[in-house]
Symmetry: C2
Subunit: 138 residues, 2 copies
DNA sequence: TTTGATATTGAAAATCAATTTCAATAAGCG
DNA sequence: CGCTTATTGAAATTGATTTTCAATATCAAA
């Protein structure tokens, strides 16, 4: 959770606050599962019935740009978004119910330096994602 | 590189060998970059001009099913495929030229057991991908 | 407040990737 | 060689995302 609320961040970056944005932001912020644009649309429309799907896409785009949400890559597809953790965090996904958890504290220094030497690559970034079953789904 | 050639593997799984398949298989097998279906189409058409894009999709589907190729997830998109390494391997991608390398020998046991205890998840799988600059692009 | 510039809206149209349909063709078994 | 049937490419279809556009709403400035 970021200290500064999302709506404030949007405003500080020159974006106006509208009903459509409020509905999308609230929806994504409350989610414990990654949501596709269409899922966001369906949920957010309950709060703001006039909402258009296009505004969902546009708002998600801005939230991603501000690093408030992140795209979730899964075997079934990569269209879903989840609220981004703060700092350097990775995802842990339940293969059954789709719940998303964050974790940090991965230390890949040792690994990356070995790989770097072995391949000659200068390593800049890493993606790490774990899949499993959450407590309820085991 | 798998011991048994891809065309043989296709045949052993009951698929027929055709010009379209040969062209797609050769193209993907020779690539050092991840290729999208459209890129495969453009390259493979040089070998087999009658090729249809649909056959590219269908052949890629079968190659993925036989674990001969794998999908590559990148910030810009997740439609590209690369020849799959054998055994448990991960990808290292050059952010500049797009070249793909494989590496293995990641030991995430320590990490996953800590995360498992901390979150209560039973961890089944992990995705690890490194990004950087290859020797030429540094 | 009110005003006015302009960012934002939703609907519709357009684009793009991927899938399905289908009649013609070709692979490969006997 | 002949026959069964998997495979083909073209065209149509689907589904997701983007663009266009006139109407509207936000918010800073008067």
């Amino acid at each position: 959770m970021t200290a500064i609320p999302w709506l404030t961040q949007l405003q500080e970056n020159g974006y106006r606050l509208t009903g459509a944005r409020r509905a999308v932001v609230e929806t994504v912020q409350q989610a414990t599962h990654a949501l596709t644009p269409l899922q966001v649309f369906d949920l957010a429309r309950k709060k703001y019935p006039a909402l258009g799907l296009v505004s969902v896409y546009r708002t998600l785009e801005k939230l991603e740009e501000l690093h408030l949400i992140q795209r979730v890559h899964q075997p079934q597809g990569c269209q879903a978004f989840i609220s981004a953790g703060s700092g350097h965090q990775h995802l842990l996904l339940c293969q059954n119910c789709g719940q998303v958890e964050f974790f940090e504290g991965d230390d890949l220094e040792a690994l990356t330096s070995v790989i770097s030497q072995r391949t000659g690559y200068q390593i800049k970034e890493h993606w790490l994602q774990l899949f499993g079953l959450c407590r309820n789904c085991q």
